[in-house]
Symmetry: C2
Subunit: 432 residues, 2 copies
């Protein structure tokens, strides 16, 4: 006998949790489709050379590999690499801008620890252009995400937005004489390490007190979004890149307003997405009251999706939700919107041998869109009712001798305990 | 630059195919839920000891393994093993009968060849009892599948049904003096090898001419289902097992009739499911006119799902569709029911700088359930129309100077070329 265990670092949910997780996936997907994003599914096992061409740093070390001599097979560690490969291999066949969403599992050799999984769902949307892509999509993408988060019941959250041209332009304007990437790396850690350590890290780079102060003032700038744009303009930085960034940020916020989503957006000059390949707008999303959990939905604008696979320039903008991790957060904090109850609306029980009638009733209900189930096992009526209670079904329909003889159904409301005699059609009305 | 290729033996679909594949998955899942089956998702990477405990024969050789010393990780080769492990590890928490469906990818180290994939979707439903499970579920499971196949547009098919107790009871009654499993193995190959080779194989087992004739008469028995049951009764075989099998077969067909699905069912005494672990009812499904393709949906009744993981007896019945393979069959033979067109209903194009109005129109449409998209890129109007044609969208809504000034929309029907002036509300009516 082998113990029925799963591997460390892996996670599986109970049936009622799974029903809720599926509802989240379905709801999000439906919303993406409403916005014209196509569902794309890519292979989970990729060629090692394809994966390594776009991997880098920490990610590369976390790749699971099936060794097959020259043709090693690797489990994808995110959905972006697969997507880049997909677009590059079909660039002549696709219509651009190409908008896709994908909900799929990815694999990482993480050290098993709370909140880190080796197999988890990512949920990505991206818009890809050929040569060019309007900055208006930098507004659409987070607005789609914002609307999706609301649909799954997350009411209070902020999408924090920045532009890397603004961030880099500002840092360059200080003439710090050190590696700007290092400065960005430190800014990225600000929330984790706190102000004191932050300043200490900057000083390690020989940055003057005055400049430390300027950087602090910049990243901690508070106020309304329009005030922050005003603040940037007043810095009077004579950098083309910086000013392009400010313009982009302003346009994105203007289109976000057209989408009616401005209340969920907040400019935050600390947001940099580390050393990722983003080149313009960047986003992170925080649930109000759960900021410590980290960003639940991040992304940004990139200049070129698939430079390692094709010479065609494919600029894009995308965001990604770590869906498994988000689900655990929602579950553990009672934030799940969808009912954890039974997936059926009514359970049909018979008292006696009325299988034919019970199946026909079930078929009638299903034809009318009612999710229902027959309980077929021979069991005492009490055992059948115990089953109904255990699955949490809201209604039980009972067929016995009297019901069959007089052509009605006894319908029991499982939360109130009330019973009533109903016809087939009344049953449908009550349940709907 | 790395060539953006996928591994040999793997398959990926074009965006329009993907939309159809997703529609098939969604439709099937919705139907399963209507029948009270819960969506269950299990890990793709399993512990090697867990997987090998239930694997066997050919399957075992096809497992992909990630070597990690003592804790090798293996890619699941079907959904059943994961499911058995899931049920065994939660047997005290689940309500039985436990009905689940799962649509997920599985992995096999097949030699790359036409119609065989190393990564493909399986779509399974199973009902599991604790200690006992009514044979009526042996009718429900294929009826759910039958209805699902019709929902995805497969009109003409037959679910062939048999009972292994009947098959083994019959063979035993002949007192052949050879290994009965060998005889079943040969019967399983009948359709592939033809009658002549079939008889030759039987003779190799030293089976007499008379018995060969009897076996042939048995497996080739034609007629209506009720005639076949009659035929079994008239064999007068004094075996408890055989007679139990006949009773089960009769009850299954009776419940299938209650479900209104009898026209799609055909008793076929050749169906044995090889040397699988089935113990009673067995099924295979063939699309009329595409019988050579093999069974598209198979399964059966088993005595014990998880004997290698728990001492609790968990009898069940289930069926599985090889969804990727079925999709390719449907695609290649123009049998796909769902539209391969654009996933949106209307594309909004502007002539001039009317982004705000275009986004607000889109939001109004989406609130009313219309899937739509804004085209944001700067492009000549002709290029925008080319995009509309390429994605195959049925309607284009145009917003220009005159439209904005006089508060209407120009709606173009892309298949007829007709244009008309409409209000927001008229637009919704036309599209719906």
């Amino acid at each position: 006998m082998v113990e029925p265990k799963i591997l460390p670092g892996f996670i599986e949910f109970s049936p009622s949790e799974q029903a809720q997780f599926k509802k989240i996936k379905t709801t999000i997907a439906k919303n993406f489709e409403l916005f014209g994003y196509s569902p794309i599914d890519t292979v989970v096992l990729e060629r090692e050379d394809v994966l390594l061409a776009k991997a880098g740093g920490e990610t590369e070390k976390q790749i699971f590999t099936i060794e097959k001599g020259e043709k090693n097979m690797c489990l994808r560690f995110d959905l972006t690499v697969s997507f880049a490969r997909y677009v590059a291999s079909r660039e002549n066949e696709l219509a651009f801008p190409f908008k896709r969403f994908q909900v799929g599992k990815v694999y990482r050799g993480e050290r098993p620890q709370k909140g880190r999984y080796r197999e988890f769902y990512q949920c990505d949307i991206d818009v890809i252009g050929k040569e060019n892509l309007s900055v208006k999509y930098d507004a659409e993408v987070p607005c789609v995400m914002s609307k999706s988060l609301k649909e799954i019941g997350i009411e209070n959250f902020k999408i924090k937005i920045n532009n890397r041209k603004v961030l880099f332009g500002f840092i360059q304007s200080l003439n710090l004489g050190c590696d700007y990437n290092e400065v960005v790396r430190i800014i990225d850690k600000f929330d984790k390490i706190g102000k004191e350590n932050f300043v200490a890290c900057l000083k390690d780079l020989q940055i003057s007190d005055e400049n430390c102060e300027k950087i602090l003032n910049f990243i901690e700038k508070s106020g309304k979004n329009c005030e922050k744009i005003e603040f940037l303009r007043n810095l009077n930085i004579a950098s083309e890149d910086f000013n392009k960034g400010v313009e982009e940020l302003e346009e994105v916020l203007s289109v976000v307003k057209s989408f009616g989503e401005e209340d969920n957006f907040e400019i935050d000059f600390k947001i940099s997405r580390g050393l990722d390949y983003y080149t313009g707008t960047v986003y992170e999303t925080f649930i109000t009251g759960y900021e410590n959990f980290g960003s639940i939905c991040s992304g940004g604008r990139y200049d070129n999706l698939a430079g390692c696979y094709t010479n065609t320039k494919l600029p894009g903008v995308g965001m990604s939700i770590g869906l498994t991790r988000l689900f655990v957060l929602l579950r553990d904090n009672n934030l799940l919107k969808f009912e954890s109850k039974s997936s059926i609306d009514v359970l049909i029980l018979t008292m006696g041998e009325y299988c034919d009638q019970a199946v026909k009733l079930a078929e009638f209900l299903r034809t009318n869109g009612v999710r229902c189930d027959n309980y077929f096992d021979d069991a005492k009526f009490k055992a059948k009712m115990n089953y109904a209670n255990k699955i949490g079904v809201p209604y039980v329909a009972i067929l016995g001798e009297d019901e069959i003889a007089n052509d009605y159904i006894t319908l029991k409301n499982m939360s109130t305990g009330e019973q009533q005699k109903v016809s087939n059609n009344e049953l449908i009305k009550i349940i709907k």
